[in-house]
Symmetry: C2
Subunit: 206 residues, 2 copies
C-alpha cells in the first residue's frame, strides 16, 4: 500500500493540533448543525456541532455527543436545566456565521446576536430555533449517557417538533438536503456543498 500508516503509538505521538485535525476527519463527512438552547438567567445560546447521529425513527430519536469543558458547556447546562433543545441545519448562505458560534463568548452574550443569526420561537417550545434554517427540529431530552472513557456526554433526544421549508420533502419522505442548500462538514473547519450522484433502490440479495 502506498500512503500513510499509523498505529496507536504513532497517533499518540502526533503534535496535538495535527492529531485533532486528522482524527476529527477520519469518520467521514459530518452534518453541520446549530444547537439552540436557552436559560432563564443567561438567555439564549447557539453552538455549532457536528456530532449529531440518527438513532431510530419510531420513536424519532437523535443522539448528540457533547464535549466537556469546551464552548459546548453552556449548551449542556441549558439542556439539563430545561430538558429541551433545537437542532438547525446550516446552509451555504450562513455557514460562516454558524462557524463563528464556536468562539468562546461570555455566558451573557447570545451567539444569535454575536454572529448575526435570527432567533425564532415556535410552538411555545422552550428553546430557540434559527430563523434562517430550512430544516430544524425541537427535541425533548430523554437520556444523558456519560462516556467515562473520555469525559464526553451522549445526549439522546426525541424529536417533538419538526419544521421543513416548502418543497424539500417528496411523497416518499425523501428530504432534499441539496435543494435546501445544506452543507456538509469535514474535520473542524471545512464546509462543502454537495451534488447527488444517485438514489439507490433498497438492497436485496441478487
Amino acid at each position: 500500500m502506498v500512503g500513510q500508516w499509523a498505529n496507536s503509538e504513532a497517533i499518540a505521538g502526533w503534535e496535538q493540533r495535527y492529531r485533532a485535525s486528522l482524527i476529527n476527519s477520519i469518520s467521514g463527512y459530518k452534518p453541520a448543525n446549530l444547537i439552540g438552547t436557552s436559560d432563564e438567567c443567561s438567555g439564549e445560546n447557539l453552538a455549532i456541532m457536528s456530532s449529531v447521529v440518527h438513532l431510530g425513527s419510531a420513536p424519532p430519536l437523535i443522539g448528540l455527543v457533547i464535549r466537556p469543558g469546551s464552548v459546548d458547556r453552556h449548551t449542556l447546562r441549558n439542556i439539563r436545566r430545561t430538558g429541551c433543545y433545537t437542532i438547525n441545519h446550516v446552509t451555504h448562505d450562513f455557514y460562516a456565521a454558524a462557524h463563528q458560534t464556536a468562539a468562546r463568548y461570555p455566558d451573557a452574550v447570545s451567539e444569535f446576536d454575536a454572529v448575526g443569526l435570527k432567533s425564532e420561537r415556535l410552538a411555545d417550545f422552550d428553546a430557540p430555533f434559527v430563523a434562517e434554517s430550512p430544516i430544524k427540529f425541537g427535541l425533548k431530552l430523554c437520556e444523558e449517557i456519560p462516556i467515562t472513557l473520555n469525559g464526553t456526554h451522549f445526549i439522546i433526544g426525541e424529536v417533538v417538533h419538526l419544521y421543513i421549508n416548502e418543497g424539500l420533502v417528496n411523497a416518499f419522505g425523501d428530504l432534499d438536503l441539496q435543494a435546501g442548500g445544506v452543507v456538509a462538514l469535514s474535520g473542524l473547519d471545512r464546509y462543502y456543498i454537495t451534488e447527488l450522484i444517485e438514489q439507490l433502490p433498497y438492497a436485496k440479495p441478487k
Copy 2:
C-alpha cells in the same frame, strides 16, 4: 413559516416507510462507511453504516450506532467475539457495491464476495479491511453501551491502525475527503459527491 410542520403525534401517525425515510434524513449529511468484521465460523462480514461519530482525538475514539435485529446483527456479534472491527470510507468508484452490502445475505456468505469488493488483511489485525478504500482504520472495542430507549447499541472503539492513501493529508493534519473521492450519504439511499466551499479559521470572539 411556509412549509411543513409536524409534532410528535403527527410523526407517530406517518406511514412507516415515509417516517423511516424522513427521520433518517433530518440529522443532515452522514458518512458512508463499510464496517469489516470476521468470525471463525462464518467468515468475513461487511456492512454499510452511516452512524459513525467522532468522540475524541486523544485517545482516538469513534462511536458507532448498531441497530438490533437487522443485517447489522452479524457485525455486532463479530465485534463482540473478536473485540475488533474496521471502518472503511466509501468512494464514488464503489458506492453501489457498498450499498449492496445492506442486503440480507446468509451468514455464511461473505459480502466482500457477494458485492465484488476485495478483502485486505493488514498488520495482523483480526478484521478485514476494504482494499478499494483510500481511508480506513482498525478499531479495538472499548465499550458497548446499550441504548434501552430503542434497543440499539452504541459501540465505542479506539483507532489502533490507520491507513490513508498518498497525498490526502497535508502538514496540518487536514484530510482531503474530496480528493479521496469519498461520498456523503443522506437518508437511507442517496449518495453525494462534494465540493469544498471554504476552510474557515479557528473562531474567536470579534
